[in-house]
Amino acid sequence: MTESERKLINPDGTRLDGRSKTDIRETSIEAGVSSRADGSALIKMGNNIILAVVHGPRELHPKHLVNPNKAVIRCTYRMATFSVGDRKRPAPSRREREISKVMTESLESVVLTHLYPRSAIDVFVQVLQADGGTRCAALSAASVAVADAGIPMRDLIAGCAAGIIEDQVVVDLADYEDKEGTGDVPLGYAPSVDEVSLLQMDGNFTKEQLLESVELAKEGCRQVYLIQREALKKKYSDIREEVAEEIVEEAIELKENIEEDQADITDFMEEEEEEEEEDFIDYGDDDEEDDEKVVDDLLEPTTFFEEE
């Protein structure tokens, strides 16, 4: 059986990788991975690995692009040459420019650009490993990176695709499902304010299929959204734990020092007491005996005269 003929959905209704129709791939996001950038995030969505980095707000060059009323967002999506099976030619392709454009427009809809007039916010997205649905994953990572940079936003954007394989609508297509299926709908969605900021379509859909795809993609976006929130939360809880550990270590050191000091003090006190006791014994009992001896000596008749 050739690849084009194989079934993409098992008889029990699961897909080839064991997911159900509404399951997204295993996703993890890490915020603040780059120390040189103002904000950064690394997303792993199935076999996708994508790094998003934010610089800014900063001075805009060339200056003729400056907007005196709001910041200019410039998003650059690039795929590494080793990110796909066949070597990708390093020059920016039509597809990369298109994704850069749609991502820029999607981010513009949520970032409060009017707070930073005359500035530029640069978002660089590098796909290190691609396995279908990179534009959605890249958008999720980029919005976490922007939030990590401390840039005010109306909401986080989560990205997730839905598509048709074997006349069934499924969510979050992998690379082989995307290629062997009949169509896909990538969606960028801000769940809290309930706004769609990116919607594209590839393939032929009926009206019902499109509406169902959008609903399923939204549901996938909500799952990604919760992971995004956890990523931001984890970064700062990690920092807090590190600080807490440092404080605990310092406290333990301080306590040990104090205990050592106290031990020294008690040793010193004991020595002093011993010395005092020794002194007491020397002067106390002996003194009395000596006194008695002296008295006895005095009372005893001397032999001095007898000898004479």
């Binding site: 904000g39 400056v66 005359r118 840039i151």
Partner: protein, 201 residues
């Protein structure tokens, strides 16, 4: 999962709560919107990742961000930067500090000779030279590049090196400097903070 679950308001009446960008905090009948929040259709949302705090009287809600974005200079800010170019009439300054806070990468700022000092200046060399560190005030931020002025005793050169030998310059008069190694004298429009760390504040 429905949006209602994500849009559940945070309970900040007893305790400060961690909020995310776009998190629903409450409605405008409950609180006034404060810093780092925005209002849309009478709902208050957070714009930052940080702690939402209700003030003592329980009227205004604001968010203290965990991370603040880079600074953008505005009118009235006090900036410190290096003179990268000084021509006959204009100087350009690379601003690296705004109101005592670091600003990386630098912002370019222009200063006209008439804005350097209240006195008449024959040439730019009397007031500033390339490589000087100056303390200026932003007077126009409508367009890039920014415009600055250095009139007044607080503003002007705060650090300079000798143009002959590159040695340290010591202040010997109001607007006079003397090199510690080659003993040549130079003129500058000086700030009273010359050589002091107070210049950055």
């Amino acid at each position: 999962m429905e949006n209602e679950e994500i849009r559940k308001p945070v309970e900040i009446k007893e305790k400060d709560q961690l909020v995310f960008p776009g998190q629903f905090i409450g409605v405008i009948e409950q609180f006034l919107p404060g810093q780092n929040t925005y209002v849309e259709e009478a709902n208050i949302y957070s714009t930052q990742f940080g702690m939402a705090h209700l003030d003592r009287r329980g009227l205004r809600v604001k968010v203290f961000p965990k991370r603040k974005a880079q600074l953008v200079p505005t009118v009235g800010d006090v900036a410190v930067g290096e003179i990268v170019h000084a021509s006959n009439q204009m100087t350009s300054i690379a601003i690296t500090s705004v109101n005592g806070k670091e600003c990386v990468p630098s912002y370019t700022c222009l200063m006209h000779i008439s804005r350097i000092s209240r006195k008449y200046l024959e040439s730019m060399d009397e007031a500033v030279r390339t490589g000087d560190i100056v303390r200026v005030k932003i007077i126009d931020a409508k367009t890039l590049p920014l415009q600055a002025e250095s009139t007044g005793i607080n503003f002007g050169v705060v650090y300079a090196e000798c143009s002959q030998c590159g040695g340290k310059l010591k202040k010997i008069g109001t607007n006079k400097l003397k090199c510690t190694s080659c003993e040549s004298t130079e003129n500058r429009k000086m700030s009273i903070h010359y050589g002091s760390p107070m210049a950055l504040a």
